[in-house]
């Protein structure tokens, strides 16, 4: 199958806040404007637009893709919406990759936008509907249940402690202090995490990322077009995505096999044989502290049950052997569901170009990875990026 090489040439992220005054359209515009300015492009140079945005139930706006389209630059252009829960942030650039790699379009604007604050009594309430309406919803479940049960199973299978997992919150929230869009960048300690209120044991409040409003945008271009706008394109060399069954209680939750499958798809495409050696910097999805560890193992970047040791030893710090979430992740920067994953892809983009400012990882990394996850613990989406 003949496909073209696709590069990321520009990007923009708004501030992530608990409640933004902007409407979803205005947030999309702000991100798109920054992305265009970052590589001196105009909207008419963009051939197609892809928008990733989470369920209509958040904003209470049906047909949300269409509603957001004018804020995304979708006016009068080929426009598609995609959505896989929290995995959307990395799924949207994969969707954009198809647009350009296929040869149909030379440039594509990838936008993700989320305005969760409109949902009352709390954005979390909208999640009751992702459970099966007949066999699970009558029990009044909340999303936190699944995370707590998954964390419990993970801890129990490998004998990992809450203290070890709490280090992830400490590391990521500290990293986020240096991110201009961050909502919760702060220096905290393991004790702060363990003493924060218990939401659903074993999850404490500081183990969880916040609900946020925010948007991010990224511009993709084919090989010949990319060099017109930048001399430092970052290539999307591998893409992978995989979905597991919605009968989630039939799967053992301690290992995300769908993340492994998505990762392998991306590694095969990028020609990566030893990911734990060749991937120099990674942004695994971290809506909860233990998830970063869970995903590191699914991505084959840590042996099973051993990811926590890598955090304890300092290997995952910015100046460590295997930096993880140098941006500060969802825990520190914020979690507007669809936009978080794209924030991570943009972080790898900036890191590989040496443009991450105070967050820059030393050693001139050339190959990085971003991953997102979502739905009823079902989807893994992965991109491998190289300069």
């Amino acid at each position: 199958m003949k496909k073209r090489r696709v590069a990321v040439i520009g990007a923009g992220i708004t501030k992530f806040v608990r409640r933004a005054q902007e409407t979803g359209k205005e947030l999309s515009f702000e991100a798109v404007r920054m992305a265009l300015d970052s590589c001196d492009m105009r909207m008419q140079d963009i051939d197609s637009v892809t928008m990733g945005t989470a369920p209509d139930a958040f904003d209470g706006v049906h047909m949300k893709g269409e509603y957001l389209s004018d804020g995304a630059g979708g006016f009068g252009k080929p426009y598609m919406r995609n959505f896989v829960g929290g995995g959307t942030g990395v799924f949207a650039p994969i969707h954009g990759w198809f647009h350009v790699a296929s040869g149909m379009f030379d440039t594509c604007m990838v936008v993700t936008s989320e305005k969760m604050s409109s949902c009352y009594p709390h954005p979390q309430a909208a999640f009751i509907t992702i459970f099966d309406h007949t066999t699970e919803q009558p029990l009044f479940p909340t999303l936190i249940w699944i995370f707590a049960m998954e964390m419990n199973r993970y801890m129990n299978t490998y004998g990992i402690t809450k203290e070890e997992i709490a280090q992830v919150s400490v590391q990521n929230k500290k990293n986020a202090i240096d991110h201009p869009s961050a909502q919760l960048g702060k220096e905290i300690t393991v004790d702060d995490v363990l003493n924060s209120p218990v939401m659903a044991w074993p999850v404490n409040r500081l183990d969880v990322s916040p609900a946020s409003d925010g948007a991010a945008a990224m511009i993709l271009a084919s090989e010949d077009v990319a060099y017109r706008y930048t001399d430092k394109p970052v290539w999307l060399d591998g893409v992978g995505f995989n979905l597991d069954t919605a009968y989630w209680a039939t799967r053992d939750l301690y290992y995300p096999r769908y993340v492994e499958k998505a990762a392998r798809m991306a590694y095969d495409m990028a020609g990566i044989k030893e990911p734990d050696r060749e991937i120099e910097i990674a942004e695994p999805y971290d809506p909860f502290s233990y998830k970063m560890l869970h995903h590191m193992e699914g991505l084959q970047l840590a042996p099973r049950g051993k990811a926590a040791e890598m955090v304890t030893s300092g290997a995952t710090a910015r100046d460590g052997d295997r930096p993880m979430c140098p941006s500060g992740g969802a825990l520190g920067v914020g979690n507007p569901i669809a936009a978080t994953g794209l924030m991570k892809v943009i972080e790898i983009f900036l890191q590989l170009r040496g443009e991450a400012g105070k967050r820059q990882v030393p050693g001139d990394p050339r190959c990085g990875l971003a991953q997102a996850w979502g739905d009823l613990m079902q989807v893994g989406t992965v991109v491998v990026m190289r300069r």
């Binding site: 902007e22 515009f29 798109v32 209470g60 006016f75 409109s118 009352y120 509907t129 007949t134 009558p138």
Partner: protein, 159 residues
């Protein structure tokens, strides 16, 4: 291969009832806040102009959807315009019949490319004509809240 068992009698069909129990609070946004405060405090309409695309948007916006330019300036326009289209509505949301019909109008505001949708009042059905000049009737200032209902309805302009 198809499913091996089917329910053949419709009286044996069962369903499970439930709902999506969320409600919503929508901020107007930066542009919307601006537009409706101007109506609330001063009874005036505001529009945004994009010089590059030669388009004047109403309600005012912070960006041009064609070129993604940032529109920071607003211009005042009179609350009047041309009847672009209309419909006469005889049914309520639940399907029951109205005793008096509502007339919904799309009004192209003079000097802009923007169209506002609102009620048309103070006119009998046989007098309505596409293209006729109409003007907004606002609530008295003390009753205005910064909502689309600060406009009571549009009515034909005096000849």
């Amino acid at each position: 291969m198809s499913i091996t068992e089917k329910i053949h009698k419709t009286t044996e069909l069962t369903n499970f009832k439930g709902q999506i129990p969320t409600n919503y609070l929508y901020t107007y946004g930066i542009a919307g806040e601006n537009f409706f405060r101007k109506i609330k405090d001063e009874g005036k309409f505001t529009a945004s102009r994009c010089e590059e695309c030669d388009v004047t948007y109403l309600p005012a916006r912070i960006f041009c959807e064609r070129c993604m330019g940032h529109l920071s300036k607003t211009i005042e326009v009179k609350p009047q315009g041309e009847l672009y289209s209309f419909t006469v509505c005889w049914e309520n949301m639940d399907g029951s019949r109205k005793t008096e019909p509502d007339v919904l109008a799309a009004v192209k505001i003079d000097g802009t490319d923007g169209v506002l949708v609102h009620y048309l009042g103070g006119v009998s059905l046989d007098e309505i004509e596409i293209g006729m000049q109409v003007e907004a009737v606002l609530k008295p200032k003390k009753d205005r809240e910064g909502s689309i209902f600060d406009i009571k309805h549009f009515k034909p302009s005096a000849k």
